[in-house]
Amino acid sequence: MSLLHTIETGLRSLLGHRLRSVLTTLGILFGVAAVIATVGIGQASSDSVTARITSLGTNLLTVSGGSSVSGGVFGGSGSANVLTMSDVSGLQDRQSAPDIEAVAPVSQGRASLVSTSGNWSTTVSGSTTDWLITNTRTISTGTFLSANDAKTRAHVIVLGSTTASNLGVGVGDLVMVRQIPFEVIGILAPTGSQGFGNQDDLAVVPITTAQYELFGGPGTVQRILLSATSPGTVGSAYLEASQILLQTHHITDPSQSDFTITTQTQVLSTAQAVTQTLTILLASVAAISLLVGGIGVMNIMLVSVTERTSEIGLRKALGATPGDLFRQFVIEAGVLTAVGGLLGVATGLAVGYVVPRAANIAVTITPLPVLSAVGVAVAVGLIFGVYPALRAARLAPIDALRAQ
């Protein structure tokens, strides 16, 4: 029997059981649509995490004290307060660190800020003038911390735009931090970031003020932010920084170092690995629904073979070979899944269009998951169609004819 007629016969029989065919197709449709939508959502969240991290500046390196190993127990980075202001001045030496553009020590904690019109809890960082450069930020009104502020332990504070509006304060107003009055000297330009790690909800005070009057002890810093002169010199800046710190910490074996330097690239790849894992997890759940859809196809094909036993017997008597019948049933299963797959793509794309507009969830649809979902759907249909088709092909014509 020619392929064209096999397909025609298959379509005729599928159209003969319209409701059943539609329901079976739905199983595949939802599976494919779910794969496309979840991978799209995963892709979009991965993109947004990437964008958020790169907006922090790809030149950024972070030195944290840590990798403290005491009695064989790894305390995790940052668990030992080993960074000092002398490390900062060492790193500021342009002679030994030509590729480091800016050095900003950070001594940080959470604190309640109180203004005349409200109070607001946020992260308060003690830092220096270079903080603006390392964090690639700008001031929208007022000024940032000056070198002199650090020397005099001035009671001045720079606020993120969200923090300032929540406190209802502007430049020149007073804000109380742990019962100490600070004068607002500047507001940072907003970054537009939201949610967890909001870059517009923070406060910056001079490092010395933070150390002596808010958190920590004199001279200690939690982190040192470094800015390389360009994205291309991050690698050499990394080497220079670790050379200098090994020297100031009197460590000869680099594997024993009591500090960790991370670059944005490392943070980025970690974050991407996390979002990728999440995407794979979501897509697997969706893929299982696709599999269930495939089993639905197999189920309906088995029903169809049983129902049409006498038709199969008749076709055999009229000269259909086992191969003819095998092809006919595999093609029927293939048509069911192909139609389901294509409608699933349409549904998935529709979800990708509607959800961002209705629910403020970003969806990024790329060709690969779309094509592979359809490919898998058709493969599933053919694989699950094989067993019923073999059953049809192997029916003995006399038994089949008698089945009526």
């Binding site: 029997m1 008749l314 055999k316 008597a317 009229l318 000269g319 259909a320 070979t321 006399i398 009526q404």
Partner: protein, 227 residues
């Protein structure tokens, strides 16, 4: 074996089941049918006539013995080869008509042609329907036709491939007397035009249509009567 017979069966035995449950439906049966003959195979149920029909129609193979169809040994063919023999050389007429309910009369008649990639299927189907007197019913579905008309569609389907043999299994079993007479006269006409016909039946009214009657009992031929 050289033979002028269309059908030559030599000491065919068909056993169903194994061991203690084994039942011999045909025992050492031999039969030959010349081209253009018409034969009625008669016998009560359980006599083995259905088994004989399955073997004659290449729907089943004998347990032992030989079967030559038009000079070709078909007793050792595989399923696909048997399908080709059925398609090209044998036309079946069943008691239950076995028409596909969703297809029109001519689509039903066309079916065997689909398995041999013939062009002009529609005109061949219409020709066959005309031969059985249903030229004005080509687009009717089976449920729009009477029993006799349905069986005539089935005969047209058997004819459309221009087969060497038409094998009819209780062709009037589901029909009233008038329709039976109708269908039998079509079969007789076909035989008069030179086509070989074998009718399996238990109905003594049917047998006279054939020129030769074979009686079966317990898987064996008991006597042969030439009309």
């Amino acid at each position: 074996m050289a033979t002028d017979s269309l059908i030559q069966i030599e000491s065919v035995t068909k056993v169903y089941g194994t061991g203690d449950a084994a039942v011999a439906a045909l025992r050492d049966l031999s039969l030959s049918v010349a081209p253009g003959e018409s034969v009625a195979v008669m016998g009560p149920s359980g006599s083995g006539k259905s088994t004989l029909m399955n073997i004659l129609g290449c729907l089943d193979t004998p347990s032992s013995g030989r079967y030559w169809f038009a000079g070709q040994d078909v007793s050792r063919l595989n399923e696909t080869e048997l399908a080709h023999v059925r398609n090209r050389r044998i036309g079946f007429v069943f008691q239950q008509f076995q028409l596909l309910p969703k297809l029109s009369a001519w689509r039903n008649v066309e079916l065997p042609l689909l398995y041999r990639n013939v062009r002009d299927r529609r005109s061949l189907a219409l020709q066959a329907l005309e031969q059985v007197g249903l030229a004005n019913r080509v687009d009717h579905r089976p449920n729009q036709l009477s029993g006799g008309q349905q069986q005539r569609v089935a005969i047209a389907r058997a004819l459309v491939t221009d087969p060497d043999l038409i094998l009819a299994d209780e062709p009037t079993g589901n029909l009233d007397t008038a329709s039976s007479r109708d269908v039998l006269s079509v079969l007789r006409e076909l035989n008069e035009q030179g086509r070989t016909i074998i009718i399996i039946t238990h109905d003594p009214e049917v047998a006279p249509v054939a020129k030769r009657t074979v009686h079966m009992r317990d898987g064996q031929m008991v006597d042969e009567v030439a009309a």
